[in-house]
Amino acid sequence: MSSMIEPASAPRSRYRIEEKARFHPRDLLRHWEALLAALLVLVCAVNGLLLPHFFDPYNLADSTFNFSEKAMIALPMALLIICREIDISVSAIIALASVAMGLANQAGVPPLGLLLVAIGTGTACGLLNGTLVTRLGLPSIVVTIGSMSLFRGLASVVLGDQAFTQYPEVLGDWGQGYFFDVLPRPFVVWLLAAALFALLLHATRWGRQLYAIGNNPVAARFSGVAVDRYRLALFVLTGAMAGLAAFFLTGRIGSTRPNIAMGWELEIITVVILGGVSIAGGTGTIGGVMLSVLVMGMLTYGLALANIPGIIMTIVVGALLLATIAIPRLLRGKRAAGR
């Protein structure tokens, strides 16, 4: 190979570049995750003060059931948004996967098979989304609006006004059961998945390339990153995780109804954006998403304990979303004006 990288007379540059910037503890605070952590502490503290049974371990464990499935989907959704894509059809994929499970169940498929059916259906849905976006170059927002209608519609057609019930008990054990009687299974599965996603995104070559795509898809492509292949993979992964979530959700509820997981897509997207993933792409961490999941989870749990109807949570979440994007902009605007 050419010896051009090590020319004999390479001049020493007159500039010295350090490896890292000097570490200031203050810099930690600049991170979105720090704010989220503080928010989590605040939420827990306030709830703990106002609600007597907030810190009861059994209650806490129980509360995780509410958000674990959504949290599972938040992980690949974060990756998608980092890559400047979006998937609005996830709740519909859950519905379709659940319906597929119901059909398979009726046909006598064993529980492990049901898991495979759910993940398989999700994967197929993700494949459709991904192919339309990458092969035909269509914008993901409208593709997934269309596929959302399609998937939920297919689920509706099969279900009619019936519901699938009579799922084997094993599903319930997974959907609302515990490991060793204390650790909720869906929550543990989510933690494992989050660890895997974090490893992938932050420590591997794949993650680096995803950030490159989100940062500047053109430059990434020019630099040899197989942009379309990654995007396709992400849509498939999202579908598969939605299928997995469907398995747990169906197990937890014990039935498949037409309106299963209704409205979840927007909650999941909200959680991801609150977690510090910018809608413009290229930034965000799994840690932030995890903290955001916990913040939302603890908020919901607190409201439930206080017997406040769930719809109030919707207001809180919406307001939180608006505040978190508006306040930095307002502050920056004031600083710029004062210059």
Binding site: G146, L150, V317, G318
Partner: protein, 352 residues
């Protein structure tokens, strides 16, 4: 002495463009044709569909969708999106209903006005965040959608406002007839004319196209984008407010979940109608036809004895087809460097 530059460049194509693209290639006539064909097909299966009453039903049913699709089109033109229209509709409608419940002696116009004003204010909030703070529309309207929907619950306490709570004229207005057509249809037609005029013949409308084409260039030539966006979302909200009153009055009920998910129907109508999600492209006729097309499908299903559960799936397929067609029509990014029609440049050609 006029030099004709068109000779050396894309003369034939450009000349054709002077007259406008061939009719059969444009989205709107195609869609109109499809709609008519669909209606006829259904009519073949069930002739009752072609009756005057059925058509009247169709128009009445599609009025609200059309009205919202019109203003959604304006929003999408600017590279934005308004996911909060359904929640806005619900909140404005609920407040209008509550007003009617507590003050039944007020004229209907007051209830309508209140709904429109509330919708306008809700829309202006979106517009301020998006236009002046320059926040991403999808995130802003996602947030406001949640907040507005939650507010419906807070205001109503979870209770339903049903027809016996509503004064008679409140409920009667939408379906009352004027010259043979319902008020809904008249309002829809009015909206079509108004938005068409706005989009085509006012500086406001043309500015929206410019903003969608190139926001930076729009700012450069002096278009007041923040103000334009403020009022575009405001308009979307006002229309949602009006639709709110019409919805609760027509169905004579108001509760937290009304029109849940309707924003996606409205956006679908725009997409089907050829309004590009990338901004800068879209016609009023497209939005109207898209909404009508969806309505025809919905109305045709019970008549064709197809289970209503097919509605969502069919809508989904139509949207996907429309998006694919939208993309095909654009042929994006393809540069034409080689001279067209085998023209060689004027003085080259030596092959020695």
């Amino acid at each position: 002495m006029a030099l004709n530059f068109l000779i050396s460049r894309r003369a034939p194509a450009a000349a054709a463009r002077e007259a406008g693209e061939p009719l059969w290639q444009r989205r709107e006539p195609l869609l109109a044709l499809l709609t008519v064909v669909l209606i006829l097909l259904v009519g073949l299966r069930a002739p009752v569909f072609l009756s005057a009453q059925s058509m009247d039903n169709l128009l009445t049913d599609s009025a609200i969708t059309i009205m919202l699709a019109l203003t959604q089109m304006l929003v999408i033109l600017t590279r934005g999106i308004d996911l909060s229209v359904a929640s806005n509709l619900a909140l404005s409608g609920m407040m209008s209903a509550l007003l009617a419940m507590h003050f039944p002696e007020l004229p209907v116009a007051a209830f309508i006005l209140m709904a429109v004003v509330i919708g306008l204010l809700l829309g202006l909030l979106n517009g301020w965040l998006i236009g002046y703070l320059e926040l991403p529309p999808i995130v802003v309207t996602l947030g406001s959608m949640s907040v507005y929907r939650g507010m419906v619950f807070v205001l109503s306490g979870g209770a339903w406002v049903s027809s016996r709570n509503m004064p008679a004229d409140f409920v009667a207005f939408p379906l009352a007839r004027l010259g043979g057509l319902t008020h809904l249809v008249w309002l829809g037609a009015l909206a079509v004319v108004a938005i068409w005029f706005l989009a085509r013949h006012t500086r406001f409308g043309r500015d929206l196209y410019a903003i969608g084409n190139d926001p930076a260039a729009a700012a450069y030539v002096g278009i007041a984008s923040p103000a334009r966006l403020l009022w575009t979302y405001g308009l979307s909200g006002a229309m949602a407010g009006l639709a709110g009153y019409l919805w609760v009055a027509r169905y004579a009920v108001a509760y937290t979940e009304i029109a849940y998910g309707f924003e996606l129907t409205v956006i679908a109508a725009c997409v089907i109608g050829g309004v590009s999600i990338a901004g800068g492209v879209g016609q009023v006729s497209g939005a109207v036809l898209g909404a009508l097309f969806l309505s025809v499908i919905n109305n045709a299903l019970p008549i064709m004895r197809i289970s209503p559960f097919w509605q969502s799936a069919l809508t989904g397929m139509v949207i996907l087809c429309a998006v694919v067609l939208n993309a095909r029509g654009k042929q994006g990014g393809r540069k034409q460097i080689l001279p067209l029609h085998g023209q060689k440049s004027a003085t080259s050609g030596s092959t020695a």
